[in-house]
């Protein structure tokens, strides 16, 4: 793989993505929602005004694990399927580029756009909270932004995999939305149901619960915010008892990164064989 070719494809993809309406919408949504959460975060305490970093980070964690997978699954889903349908992928592949350069370049370009949308949205909120509220640990807030980027990388890889596997825009959008429901809502219920029905041991439940990248990010975010074991529930407590705080963080970060790399690699393996119209 030639880095120059990879850089060119990534820059082309980033430029096209940033010009799209979704980018303005995503960055705007992140900004409005995160600012809203920072501002109304103290409503429960009968107070108004901007909350500090800790409370804002806690609120943003729930927002991020909900919206970032939705955005990246659909965006990744359209990465190949959309261009395959309109013919622009054929124009790109008619150039002296390998399929690996095209696939990896498109993925990195989109990841750059997702990162920019997240940094604009959450970053602006972070600056405003830092200037006008201040309290709490800004490092934790930055940690959350990094974590959200890693989650975005993993779910973007999943979306791109769906894109090359299904290859039709309508099918991919349906599959991306189903995958989002599965990751965000259904998998939790599934694990709980399975744990009860099969009387799973804590280790089995732990592994099963953390197969889902959204769950990995949620637990990592919780670990960022609190050292208390009870907030993680019995499965998290089992993880900390077994691996320790650092071990659990390393394990989750590794798994999340492996999910990103694994889905991109799997997507490329499928993409190599995709016939181009």
């Amino acid at each position: 793989m030639r880095t120059r070719a990879l850089r060119l494809v990534a820059a082309r993809e980033l430029r096209d993505a940033v010009r799209g309406r979704w980018f303005v919408l995503a960055a705007g949504c992140f900004l409005v929602l995160s600012l809203g959460l920072a501002f109304f975060g103290l409503a429960g305490a009968q107070r108004s005004g901007l909350a500090g970093f800790d409370r804002t980070t806690a609120s943003l964690l729930n927002l991020a694990v909900l919206f970032v997978p939705l955005m990246t699954l659909t965006l990744g889903g359209l990465a190949v399927a959309g261009e395959l349908e309109d013919g622009s992928l054929g124009m790109l592949l008619a150039q002296p580029l390998t399929r690996l350069e095209v696939y990896a370049g498109k993925y990195l370009g989109l990841l750059g756009a997702v990162g920019a949308a997240i940094c604009i949205g959450f970053g602006t909120t972070g600056v405003i909270v830092g200037l006008y509220a201040g309290g709490g640990d800004a490092g934790v807030f930055l940690g959350l932004v990094g974590l959200v980027l890693l989650l975005g990388a993993a779910t973007l890889g999943m979306g791109a995999l769906l894109s090359v596997a299904l290859r039709a825009r309508a099918r991919v959008i349906g599959a991306a939305f189903s995958a989002w429901l599965l990751l965000v809502y259904v998998s939790d219920l599934g694990v709980i149901g399975l744990a009860i029905a099969r009387s799973l041991r804590p280790a089995q439940t732990f592994v099963l619960a953390l197969v889902n990248p959204v769950e990995q990010a949620r637990v990592l975010g919780t670990l960022l915010l609190s050292d208390r074991l009870d907030v993680l529930g019995p499965v998290g407590a089992f993880g900390i008892d077994t691996l320790g705080w650092h071990g659990l963080v390393a394990c989750l970060l590794g798994t999340l990164a492996a999910t990103a790399v694994g889905t991109v690699a799997a997507g490329y393996v499928v993409f190599r064989k995709v016939p181009i119209a």
Binding site: R12, S88, Q95, P96, I276
Partner: protein, 224 residues
């Protein structure tokens, strides 16, 4: 220059190409003619390594599957339906120029050549079908490749565009380029090429055969 040997292409269980073999000499201009769905476009897709096929295709001695990047650096491709994402015409050409290390000033020359100089900064999404086709011509010819593949190249062009295309093909032939034109309009490509290859049902045939698949539309008042 181009050598195709026993090319077989099966997609989704359907045989698209069935043992196609031919040679194109350097500087020769060849037309692939045949009815819609006969396999012309699929043959071009094999030459570009777009589809997994059995058999062997080489361009300038380079295998299109093993040495895909080298082969595509020798080839310009004008598809039947081109698209360029959300870029402007100048950006599309700048991408190709940077990738292929071509002097940037050639971008303006090509835009001028295909009559799009006034639309260099416009988004391709706002272009008509004919303008997109002109841009596809500019993209294909920007690196001045020794081999150019055309797939129904004048299908979207108006009369001026067609004249431009015929003129370009004549200049490319005079310049010693190797050309392969796929078209269902034999009369259009006959004068532009040295010889014709007839494709029918995924096979090369000696002469065009009346296609049994085409059922004539009944005349008014006539019942099927």
């Amino acid at each position: 220059m181009i050598a195709a040997r026993d090319v077989r292409l099966v997609l989704e269980g359907r045989t698209i190409l069935d043992g196609v073999s031919f040679d194109v000499a350097r500087g020769e201009s060849i037309a692939l003619v045949g009815a819609n769905g006969s396999g012309k476009t699929s043959m071009l897709r094999c030459l570009l390594g777009f589809v997994p096929f059995a058999g062997r295709v080489t361009i300038e001695g380079h295998d299109v599957v093993r040495d895909g990047v080298v082969v595509r650096s020798l080839v310009g491709y004008v598809p039947q339906r081109a698209a360029f994402g959300d870029a402007s015409a100048a950006e599309v050409l700048a991408f190709v120029a940077t990738l292929r290390r071509i002097e940037p000033r050639r971008i303006d020359v090509m835009l001028d050549l295909v009559g799009l100089a006034a639309h260099a900064r416009d988004r391709v999404r706002t272009f008509s079908g004919g303008m997109v086709q002109r841009l596809a011509l500019a993209v294909a010819l920007l690196p001045d490749p020794p081999v150019v593949l055309f797939d129904e190249p004048s299908a979207n062009l108006d009369r001026d565009g067609q004249r431009l295309f015929y003129d370009l093909v004549a200049r490319l032939r005079a310049g010693g380029h190797t050309l392969l034109l796929a078209s269902h309009r034999r009369e259009e490509v006959e004068s532009l090429t040295d010889r014709l290859l007839h494709v029918d049902w995924g096979r090369l045939v000696a002469a065009p055969t009346p296609s049994a698949r085409v059922v004539p539309f009944p005349a008014r008042g006539e019942r099927r």
